[in-house]
Amino acid sequence: MPTILLFASAREAAGRAADMIPGSTLGEVLDEARLRFGGEFARVLAASRVWINGEMLHGDVDGIPCRAGDEIAVLPPISGG
């Protein structure tokens, strides 16, 4: 089952820093995350970057396949320094 890692406002909205979430595509995992973590999390997610295994994703990413052991990171906007 993929692991989701949550940072900063995404972590706070979800009430946890990490979770195991089922899904065979990124879209399924993120849908389930929105269900579990609620509307505030969904709002943060909409403004965030998503990385899989440290790689940034671009464009329409919902169809990307996910496997057990994949690490999906939700990174809210940064203001740096």
């Binding site: 940072f7 940034m56 809210p76 740096g80 320094g81």
Partner: protein, 177 residues
């Protein structure tokens, strides 16, 4: 690296990057950056400020990071600067995480070069990219007891993309290749 974010790590002889929970050793880094061939050292320290777009009366910022990606990103930025300005001597990029009180440094860039032109330009490049590409978030705490995540950030960017887009201040922006 990510398991011990407590002291700077030498990654390449003339690039030094690190994530630390302690005070950033500014003068040590400046001393380290000096080489016989380099007459110019430019240093940028980003310190915790008493105000932001969100808040006045800031007394502390708590920096949270995706730890194990910070040094890799800093290292890519240092390498990107060296690609662009091959005459650079040394490049040090350090980021502090955890709670940093007002007035202390959260980020340090030190760049040495034979001449000041490239030291200034490369220093600016490095801090601009640190602020665009390194997975670190700021939670500000105020004198009023409240705190919150800084809300005016930008989506985190890849180093290669940000480097292509970066241009010296004053020069017209080039299209992204």
């Amino acid at each position: 690296m990510s398991g011990q974010p407590s002291s700077p790590t030498y990654l390449v002889d003339d690039n030094l990057v690190g994530l630390t929970r302690d005070r950033i050793p500014i003068s040590e880094m400046i001393e380290w950056a000096v080489t016989p061939a380099c007459g110019a050292v430019v240093t940028f320290t980003g310190t915790v400020r008493d105000h932001s777009n969100d808040r006045v009366g800031v007394v502390e910022i708590d920096y949270e990071a995706f730890d194990r990606h910070v040094e890799a990103r800093l290292s890519q930025i240092a390498a990107g600067a060296r690609d662009r300005w091959p005459s650079l001597g040394r490049v040090a990029l350090l980021h502090r995480i955890g709670r940093v009180p007002l007035g202390e440094a959260s980020v340090l860039v030190v760049v040495s070069a034979p001449h000041r032109e490239e030291a200034f330009t490369a220093g600016r490049f490095c801090i601009d990219l640190v602020k665009e590409c390194v997975p670190v978030w700021k939670r500000e705490s105020g004198t009023d007891g409240t705190s919150g995540w800084v809300s005016d950030g930008n989506p985190i960017e890849d180093v290669a993309t940000a480097a292509r887009r970066w241009h010296p201040v004053g020069e017209p922006e080039r299209s992204v290749r």
